[in-house]
Amino acid sequence: MTRHRQRWWLAGVALWTLVPIAALVVRALARAWRYPQILPGAGDAWPMFGAAATGRLTEALMTSLVLAMAIGPASAVIGFTIGRAIARAPRPARRVGLALALFLVIAPPTALGVGLQVATLAIGVGGTLFGVFLAHLVPAAGYLTLFAVGIFTTFDFVLEEEARTLGARPWQVWSRITIPILRRRLAEAVVLGALVSWGQVALTLLIGGGVVRTLPVELLSFVRSGSDQLGALAALAVSVPPMLAIGLLQVGIRRTGATL
């Protein structure tokens, strides 16, 4: 591909990505924006948000953040533990493990949610934040198990074995060898797990039963009630943190020089 053509492709991709975000920003700032207006009129700028709506958004933002920050590390621990076991298992067990992890990822959240709803209600955590946490953990751990299988398939386990014969106990091997070597991958896994939780709607609605309200749930609620402006604002609030998380991850990787 020539450099000239590359530039056109890049411009096309940038346009494809930025136009929806720009539209969201404009819509969030405008009180009204109706067809056939190409842009909102000057008099429609600077909206007045109601205190109630702002409170709902803030509360939902906090709920989403708490869930994501809990799901990220928890799913990374589960995913890496199971992924490591699957990667080291003999072939038949490995295939079964991979198929199960894959099922959690490819099963539609609504279908998965019905089963999880029954389970969470049975243990008395339906309609609670903890119940939603457990529900989000299922697909997040599935993603991170597959992620970890890929990592541990190429991991040099000889390093751990040599560390053991050099006198290190299993927890010392984890803390001094495995985790430091995989720190970049672990950071990526925590962010990925958090993002899986961050975007969940169906599982939150089914398990949270409308009591636990995360940002995507509020976004859906605003859009369904015709509050486009608040919907746009909620959509921005949903979109920006993942980009910040990825950006911070990249900066962290560059600063620590993590290589694996």
Binding site: D156, V158, L159, E161, E162, A163, R164, T165, L166, G167, A168, R169, Q172, R176, I177, P180, I181, T259, L260
Partner: protein
Amino acid sequence: MTGGAGGLDVRGADVRFGVRVGLSAIDLRVGRGERAALLGPSGVGKTSLLRAIAGLDRLSAGSVSVDGRDVTGELPERRGIVYMHQAASLFPHLSVLDNVAFPLEVRGLSRAEARIRAMPVVERVRLGPLASRAPATLSGGQLHRAALARALAADPAVLLLDEPFSSLDPELRADVRQAVVELLGDRVGPAVVLVTHDIDEATGLADTLTVLLDGRIAQAGRPAAVLRAPQSLAVARFIGIDNILPGVRDETNVVTCALGQFPSAGPAGPVSVTVRAGSVRARAPGGRGRTARVVGTLERVSGPVLRVRIDGDDVVATPNTELTCATGDLVELCVEPSSIHVIRGSEA
């Protein structure tokens, strides 16, 4: 085989590959300061045996003792056995010095103290100027020396070296081999078990040699004894004896083969005569030796050798320095009778 005081004592060890028995009834005793080489073809189970001795895999039968203490059921970190993999696996996120300090730190020393104690070991392997470097910046030979230093810093009772030179080119191999000799020449040091399939490596480094063939110990002893007197044709073939000739022993304890007649006590019947090329000298005809025809010349690291034919058998011989000959020429063969070894049975 009798080692010095303490060290490694493996008795009746069986190693399985899944449901199949890989090695059985393995006895191995290596005293402190002694170096033993395990020699065998690829896939015989040498590495599996080392891993089981180190506690990384299970023995299906038998016991492992270190300095008189039974460690068969112990965890790898409690055995006092360090296992060094063939790839010199330094921890990639630690510097050379921190790698060597690692075994001291996990035993409870502070990082600063461990580094102070590790530095002399790093200097012993001539890596002092590279102590702060990352493993990725070292050459293959330097990596191996650093891995050796790390193993020694652990002060093990037993050191297991799994084909330590196999991934190195010849020049680096000599460098690392020298490091092994220098570092492990100490008679109060660890008992060392070296796995290799290179006979020269084994004889050059080890005090004792154990040949593993077909899942068992085929022969064990001092390297010179094994090389001079292989107990079976399989061992003779494996250790690369150049000449294995069919012969016959009569009732008067004389063996007759293509190289002549030699005294050898034992039952009458077909035998195989083994002799290394270095013990069969070729010179210009005219003496009382047997005459053979040159069928080819081979260049070896140790010098040229001749392939000659005598009574229908091919023999590899070493030419005398003054001998000049070409394919088709006649030469006379001289064999020192003491270098002849006779094995019952024949290949034919």
